[in-house]
């Protein structure tokens, strides 16, 4: 019959229209953004942040500049602290990451031997000025280690285990060799599992 296709098409839209009212779970999937946010996956990575234990002075970074060398777009800038006599200390005085250039590849996280820089989950980063505001200085980068535990619990356990093993080995002053990687409970966490 002539208009049969049109009729079936109209029924499909009517069905969707009614679905959104009477059976919203199946029908409508819009998330009202500012009020509710879609949870981010654990392995999601955005701009890096520096870790400190306890107080911001106890910064883990020792200004070894490996990440500065390894960073492909060269967006990290480190100046180590000097004590009054001019001896270089093992703490960064200036640690800048240019968010405008950083392509959040995560290489600095992998090469850092002191577990001091990790990729963050923070994505609401809109600023007014492209040059000044996007240049993140040390103070803005510093975040407590508990923050890392909150956003990436699985990696947190794996790194804690690794650090604990290293400390235990260092204490009896045995020569440190790289301990076998403890097989974590599967590196890619299933999506549902992250809501612990």
């Amino acid at each position: 019959m002539f208009g049969w296709g049109i009729f079936k098409g109209m029924l499909v839209t009517l069905w969707n229209f009614l679905l959104t009212y009477f059976y919203p779970k199946k029908g409508i999937f819009t998330v009202q953004y500012p009020e509710k946010k879609i949870p981010v996956a654990q392995r999601y990575r955005n701009f890096p942040f520096l870790v400190y234990d306890g107080t911001p002075h106890m910064i883990r970074c020792v200004a070894c500049k490996i990440c500065e060398a390894e960073c492909p777009p060269k967006c990290i800038y480190i100046v180590p602290e000097k004590d009054p006599e001019g001896k270089v200390l093992k703490k960064p005085a200036v640690f800048d990451i240019d968010y405008a250039i950083c392509m959040n590849c995560g290489i600095c996280e992998e090469v850092c031997p002191f577990d001091s820089i990790y990729m963050d989950h923070e994505y609401e980063l809109s600023k007014y000025q492209r040059t000044e505001d996007l240049m993140a200085h040390k103070e803005e980068l510093l975040k407590p280690w508990e923050h890392f535990a909150k956003i990436r619990p699985l990696d947190f356990e794996r790194i804690e285990a690794k650090r604990a093993a290293k400390n235990a080995k260092a204490k009896p002053a045995a020569p440190a060799e790289s301990s076998a990687q403890k097989p974590g409970p599967g590196l890619i966490p299933p999506r549902q599992g992250q809501e612990k």
Binding site: I6, G9, T13, F17, L19, T20, T30, Q32
Partner: protein, 384 residues
């Protein structure tokens, strides 16, 4: 109580006039009587238009499994006001070598046509602005005005796309106006009067024309021609963004563009109102609820159907668009007039049989002659 509710607007108007009558000469009262109905119509039309845009965006959203606007106001109810302000504050461009005078007048003239049509619609029992005894002809005459204004807009902006869009809109509206005219003739034939109030009175107590065999098809044709007359999907080729930039209102921005938009929505309201008056029994409904409520409800249903069309149907190609009007609608409406004549002249059992035979004959003839254009049944190879 229902009688009071039904005539509430008339009582309010008479009350106001009696109050004014105290200190105004009587001829001024006559002018005031006319002025009140005119002012209410001209005030209500833009409000109706604003909230039709809101309704359209909400319903379209829901069809596409998303919420419509819900940020401005509780359910996005202030969204039309926000749109209005946006349109007012937008810069108003006039192309350099455009025909300044006509470019300025066109949006004004295009809004006049649908507003004039509202004067003839019977919103409720004796709730009509101007009860002309040539009401229906007035509507059809004035709807040709929109065509001319549309062409003024597209011709004066001296832009190839708007001229092309204007030409297509011009051709489409003319070729859909004739079937619309002819689909109204059976209604005039049965009620033997052109006044819209008489037409509604002929359909009281549920004897709506849509239930008669010729009425059902004539209302379908009238409604589809109305959709085409208003340039809405699936006949919205002239102002489709994908084909020719924005058709005839390419060179318009700011408030002038909003006027084109307003004209489209008010004529949507007017045409669905008229379809209700002609075929769905105007304000006829069970007595409990007031008469103007029934008119509003039926018009709302028709507007929702038009929005439903917009949410589902793809757009016509130009030649299909024209071919559909001339090859399907026109022959059908011509035959339909003959069937309506049969319906009026024959006694009760005879006219049903005659009409059904007549309609089946016409439909089969249409199918046979349009065999070439009808899309073949597509066989999808990977269907099984």
């Amino acid at each position: 109580m229902t009688e009071f509710l039904d005539q509430i607007f008339i009582i309010a108007k008479n009350g106001a006039l009696n109050f004014l009558g105290v200190f105004l000469p009587d001829w001024m009262i006559l002018l005031a009587r006319i002025l009140i109905s005119v002012v209410t119509l001209v005030a209500i039309a833009p409000v109706v238009m604003m909230y039709m845009t809101w309704l359209e965006r909400k319903v379209l959203g829901r069809i596409q499994n998303r919420y419509g606007p819900n940020r401005v106001g509780i359910f996005g109810l202030l969204q039309p006001i926000a749109d209005g302000i946006k349109m007012l504050t937008k810069e108003d461009l006039v192309p350099k070598n455009a025909d300044k005078v006509i470019h300025f007048i066109a949006p004004m003239v295009i809004v006049i046509a649908p507003l004039l049509v509202l004067a003839v619609l019977p919103f409720g029992r004796n709730l009509i602005a101007a009860d002309l005894n040539v009401g229906l002809l007035f509507f059809l005459g004035v709807s040709t005005f929109g065509v001319i204004a549309l062409f003024m807009g597209s011709w004066s902006s001296k832009n190839k796309y708007s001229l092309l869009g204007g030409m297509r809109a011009f051709a489409q509206m003319i070729s859909y106006e004739i079937p619309m005219l002819l689909s109204v003739v059976p209604v005039i034939l049965t009620t033997s009067s052109l006044s819209t109030v008489a037409i509604v009175e002929a359909q009281l107590q549920g004897k709506w024309f849509i239930f008669t065999p010729w009425g059902g098809f004539a209302s379908l044709v009238f409604f589809l021609c109305g959709v085409a007359e208003v340039n809405r999907t699936p006949f919205d080729l002239p102002e489709a963004e994908s084909e020719i930039v924005a058709g005839f209102h390419t060179e318009y921005s700011g408030m002038k563009f909003a006027l084109f938009y307003m004209a489209e929505f008010i004529s949507t309201f007017a045409i669905s109102g008229l379809a209700v008056t002609l075929f769905l029994g105007g304000w006829d409904g069970p007595g409990i609820l007031p008469s103007w409520f029934w008119f509003g409800l039926k018009t709302l249903i028709l507007i929702l159907i038009m929005i439903w069309f917009r949410g589902t149907l793809p757009r016509f190609r130009v030649d299909q668009l024209m071919g559909f009007a001339w090859k399907v609608f026109l022959p059908f409406t011509l035959g339909n007039i003959f069937i309506a004549a049969l319906w009026v002249s024959l006694p009760f059992p005879g006219n049903f049989i005659a009409d059904t035979i007549g309609i089946t004959v016409i439909l089969t003839l249409l199918q046979v002659f349009n065999r070439k254009e009808m899309p073949k049944k597509r066989k999808y190879l990977c269907a099984n």
